[in-house]
Symmetry: C2
Subunit: 367 residues, 2 copies
């Protein structure tokens, strides 16, 4: 079982290979890429313990010279300080312009490794080997890289496309359940905004709340359809001029909830799930979307073990305030992505504070 | 007197405007660029004292909202720490994706401001206003940005093209003489590798060792021809695939000399001047170039008050060793740019250590 997708860009198109055991096949991929001999693998301790040896052995078997660097795990280490450690390591290993960083990990490792690769010697190669579901279907594709500023997420970064994305679905077996569900929120997002077929496959599944309930085929399909959705959107809008904004579905209110709950109570995927539920209801209220489809979305979210209701302790006014301070706000108008039918969405700045608060009220009462 | 050049790239082409007093005209340029309202000017104390007020007033008169940040002067402050200060300032001023950094200074300010702009919010606008001759004819054009790693120059960086380059020749009047001559080394370089007309104009001048001996017309021509040369080469090879290598003329041996003299005794321009003299003689010895033209080059270097001889305390073996460790060396072969005739050069990896040491010996005996 191998899915081969491609992200088509004006320059630097690349391949996404999704297959069980693809990690041990990396040698052939490396040889076909025309990169230099030196490779630096970046990971965190936990993930490297699980999968590092397989990867390193496969790279060495293909006669590449490989070293690795372990960064501390967790979003709070996604900082310039970690990047400096990668620079030091790159220097120590005499990386050249033709050399390659490999990110083995979740989105945190992927974003940092990508940024170090973007800025070492003004740009060396990077290969993404995402190990969390979120990183597989989202963070590893599209070339956004970066780190956090003490006062804001992802404020520092660069666009730097990977040379290759390798996805082994089997590594998900060690991923904590809550992280799995967080990734599923993005999968549902692609179903709603882009791929009705994916949406139906998810609806057809009996349970989606833990990996073990998914058949190997369904998992492969989920990954393939989701990566294809992201690849399609990115191909059409590499640097976030327009279309790419639809990937923000569920993220407008989602980000506000994450931020107001201090990035701890509710994780990113849960916040996005709530945000999709709210955005869906706004779309219904404004006549963009049918009530029936909006309810089908909410049922899917619930089946995945994700929340649809806004945490009761949040004040609506605080949410509205936070929405207005979002960095993507233009001229004070909040931009919402709203579904029109399953598989298609649009962007609008016509959503008024009144509508938002009315909808959030109904989403909070339920809880 | 206004020269308007353009750097033509696949995406993001931009204009270089060279004219006395162009700083006070910035308002019209800003209005035509379609950038957001917020501007952050970056400079060092000395340069800002001289030219900051004129610039800030002109920006404000055009109704843009402007703030500024002063970085400490000097190459040793070209570090990630300075970049972090720029990030903090960008955050404090709520810069948005449509906002603009303006670099007002030499290459150090230009490289740092460019890198901060390349990586803040994954890329905001930057306008280069170079104030040293070197920055005018070289650093401000072409999109190379970056900072130093404690263990090597320019190891950290990104390609990020400016939206506009504004050059006011009059600001050179406050530039120290030695810095002026350093910039002239690059000007001579363009004459030798790209623009025979420029070379002849330089030859026709009576003195070139201090700015005051240059007529307003000659200075305008020097800037225009040099910027055009850099723009031509960069347009044809944006990311340093091939042609751009010829800009390294004089820099192979030059870098070795800078490095071996601890970046203090000999400045960059002086090292490049010596490097051009050495490369010229190598070209003659290998039959690429005529003795007569090589001597014309050396006379021009001398008339500019720049050195042609290798500092006597340097050991030839150390120079050869340093050449081999250059980051651009491929498979152990040193690549040299060699002139073929005035206005044209080629790149070769056929220069043997024997030839290099024989030539350096003659260059040292003379001193
Ligand atoms: N670049 C982009 O386009 C993009 C898109 C979305 C998110 N992101 C970024 O991605 C990050 C979030 O990614 P994430 O959710 O993967 O977070 P993460 O990288 O922190 O991974 C989540 C947790 O799962 C662990 N983990 C990952 N794979 C595992 C595996 N196979 N087995 C066991 N444990 C595993 C990690 O160690 C971590 O503790 C954020 O920093 C976000 O900004 C980037
Ligand atoms: N990005 C590129 O393509 C590129 C190309 C060449 C060099 N560079 C970089 O540029 C830097 C060297 O540039 P530089 O030579 O301009 O050095 P610099 O910026 O340090 O300027 C040299 C000195 O002149 C002063 N100065 C500048 N303009 C002045 C003026 N009008 N009046 C009075 N004083 C003035 C500066 O304050 C400084 O003290 C290096 O860091 C080098 O790596 C970059
Ligand atoms: Zn997301
Ligand atoms: Zn130079």
């Amino acid at each position: 079982m191998l899915s081969n997708l491609s992200v088509n860009l004006e320059q630097n198109s690349y391949q996404i290979a999704i297959a069980p055991n693809v990690l041990s096949e990396i040698g052939n991929y490396l040889k076909s890429l025309n990169v230099g001999n030196k490779i630096l693998v970046v990971s965190n301790a936990m993930i490297f313990d699980e999968y590092g040896e397989t990867l390193i052995n496969a790279i060495q078997a293909a006669n590449f010279s490989v070293s690795h660097h372990i960064l501390p795990a967790g979003e709070r280490h996604k900082t310039l300080l970690s990047i400096q450690k990668l620079y030091d390591q790159a220097l120590e290993n005499h990386l050249e312009r033709s050399s390659t960083f490999i990110a083995l990990g979740g989105g945190v490792i992927g974003d940092m490794t990508g940024f170090a690769a973007a800025t070492w010697l003004r740009g060396v190669n990077v290969i993404q080997i995402p190990t969390s579901l979120l990183a597989m279907v989202d963070a590893s594709i599209g070339g956004k890289t970066g780190v956090n500023h003490p006062q804001g997420k992802n404020l520092i970064g660069a666009f730097h496309q990977p040379k290759l994305v390798l996805i082994d679905p089997q590594v998900l077996k060690t991923l904590p359940h809550r992280e799995f569900r967080a990734g599923m929120a993005e999968v549902i997002k692609y179903g709603v905004i882009w791929d009705a077929d994916l949406f139906q496959q998810l609806e057809a599944a009996e349970r989606l709340d833990e990996l073990e309930y998914l058949s190997v085929e369904l998992l492969q399909n989920i990954l393939t359809h989701s990566c294809q959705a992201k690849a399609d959107v990115v191909s059409k809008d590499e640097k976030e001029g327009g279309l790419r904004a639809i990937l923000n579905y569920g993220h407008t209110v989602g980000h506000a909830i994450e931020s107001l709950t201090g990035y701890s109570l509710v994780n990113h995927g849960e916040a996005v799930a709530i945000g999709m539920s709210v955005a869906g209801k706004i779309a219904v209220k404004m006549g963009y979307w049918s009530e029936v489809e909006s309810q089908r979305q909410d049922q899917l979210i619930i089946k995945t073990g994700l929340p649809t209701t806004v945490p009761p302790m949040l004040e609506i006014d605080d949410i509205l305030e936070t929405l207005k301070s979002d960095k993507k706000v233009k001229a004070g108008k909040v931009r919402f992505v709203l579904p029109q039918q399953i598989g298609s969405a649009t962007v609008t700045d016509q959503v008024t504070p009144d509508i938002i608060s009315a909808v959030i009220k109904t989403c909070q009462e339920k809880s």
